[in-house]
Subunit: 216 residues, 4 copies
């Protein structure tokens, strides 16, 4: 199931316009802030689908009944580009446990690439709710590999995949390789094209570089 | 029109439970943070009702069409208790102009009180959208006076009143004294009772004191 | 006593250069963030002069002796321009009680002006340490009036006045009208000139307008 | 060269007392916030040792000469425990490029352990200034390995190592294995003991677990 947050007009699209804008991208602080704000909104929309239990809370003047989260989700993110989104999600799910996964594109001489998974730090995830964030869903292969890397640590009850911009091709890939009933995909926008170098068009460029600088 | 954000379960209610909880209230940093988070969510929900225009944004790889805010709202708040909510609203409407209003309860010897308006700093608001934040809507008299204080500076196109906890009585008062077609009221929760000292029950106590300390 | 934080090179001056820069000023979010960062640094430098008591802290593995603040200062600020600085100070003195003072320049027909104090919200300050923040110290008259407005509520043990940019003339005025042994003045930079309209040159313009928008 | 920020009383030690305190540690949001605040202060103190160039800045009213950073340092951190400190450093060096290194303790059957380096994402660092953050300096072996992992990408002009709590033994190890003239070590506190499991005593426990939850 795919849910497109950007299809309903809201301030969400304002932030999305800013991270796409190559002039505004020169301010990396604002770029990171916008990724955080976008992820915070997406986390809030996801929270509407979660389970709550009514808790009796003692105020200075009485007792109130308020629904609180039954269980905090595990916040998983893909290094390094996912870190600002993770930060946004953690700002609202502040009691969550967290997982970090690193995956990279290993380029071959012929221009093709493999995705290499290097690092997984992960709490118990079996039977838990997981939110996995990655800003760009280009081919989808890195996300599928990261998801499978997490599965080596346990089997979540359900996983919400959160991505800011997805390509049509990437979404097709995800639908093909991830179990439809165990995964919900939340996107901010869907772009049609993918370059030969697997960049989304119009997209925004390389989210990791824009947030943290180029790497060797 | 009254919109109750807390009536749909979401992480919003988690934060609301924390600001109500007299144990968690001892951490004033968390109290302020929760007021910010609550106001941010309310601002986001309000943003869904605003007008957008499609903008062509040049990315490093192409051109994207993204809806952006037609005009940023004016963010008005009531001193001092409204400052953390204002901060949350400003974190998403970061290009907004801002208004600050101070109003206080002047207690009379017989236990009754008048609301005194002291300070108004305000941009042009005529024909603009205004979001007016005040954490607690108890009797409603202070909010009506603050609203009227703003009106001395111009006539907004529409005003969204944002309050975390409202009393039934306060909402009735607002409906009676504010023009229904020019005002939308957003609340996080509605509590039934009001003490003789005009505190909401169960409420959360004095939001200003909890955020900023007692005052002489 | 005057302490000039900007006279020692540090990242402080980077932020100061940004709030002065009329190109960077167009980003009001960054302007407010920079005021916060500057105030945070100034608060940290002031904290070096405060009193501490050694506390035994139980860690998961033993007991550590750590010096903690003997008492949190009261954070007072002048509305509305001081709010971002107050925010920065509160981010490090997070258990502080807070005071808000509003003062404005009432312009006369002949171009001169009086300072009008409207609003004071203040905790007990007698025998306590107070940090009073105001971004621009132009003529100094508004600061002296705000200080005197606070004094109507009690007599602090000592007051640290924190200002980002001061004029030479304003500092002279402060030295003349505030008690030297009860006040320490912390500045980020000292500029030489003052226009006929009492703006500091080169200064940065109107800090309140840059942070919150123009006002009627 | 070792610089102990905690040896001068300041609000720094307040935050240090909070991250050590096993009662306050139950609030992971505050734990992360404190790590950020501590790293921000350390970054500011480090910034006093950096090089600046005077820049002419055009204000709305004139031209000011302000010293600005000659070059932003590269901010390197060790996953995952270093992420909150990295966040604090990035909040003041907001134009910096960033490096992430992952290293972990691979425990052997006999209770000893090796440090395994898995992941390095790194910009050009040759002839640049690097700040490498890691909250706990226990044996020092993981830090030395991470430093050497960075060296595979280039040779920095100088590296500032930033750690919140160091053991005496760890500092000795660092001094032995890192080049004294190319490295400055900034610590918040020095603790005497190290358990057989290489935890610092009294220390604070496992910084990564406290910030992000336990891991499998």
């Amino acid at each position: 199931m795919i849910k497109n947050i950007g299809s309903q007009t809201s301030i969400f699209n304002q932030f999305l316009s800013e991270i796409r804008d190559h002039n505004i991208q020169t301010d990396s602080l604002r770029f990171r802030t916008n990724m955080e704000r976008l992820a915070t909104i997406m986390g809030y929309e996801i929270s509407k689908t979660m389970e709550y239990v009514v808790k009796e809370v003692t105020t200075p003047l009485g007792v109130a009944e308020v629904p609180v989260l039954k269980e905090f989700p595990v916040l998983a993110t893909i290094l390094r580009a996912g870190l600002p989104m993770h930060r946004g999600l953690l700002s609202i799910f502040d009691q969550s446990e967290n997982a970090f996964v690193s995956a990279y594109r290993k380029h071959n001489k012929d221009g093709s690439f493999d995705v290499q998974v290097e690092y997984v730090s992960c709490p118990k995830i079996t039977d838990r709710l997981v939110i996995l964030s990655d800003p760009m869903l280009a081919t989808g292969s890195s996300l599928v590999l990261s998801y499978n890397a997490l599965l080596t640590k346990g089997r979540p009850k359900h996983t919400h995949i959160v991505t800011l911009i997805a390509s049509t091709e990437g979404l097709d890939y995800i639908r093909k390789y991830l179990p439809a009933d165990e995964v919900t995909i939340w996107v901010g926008a869907v772009d049609d094209e993918l370059t030969a170098q697997s960049y989304i068009v119009p997209g925004l460029g390389d989210a990791g570089d824009l947030a943290f600088g180029s790497k060797l």
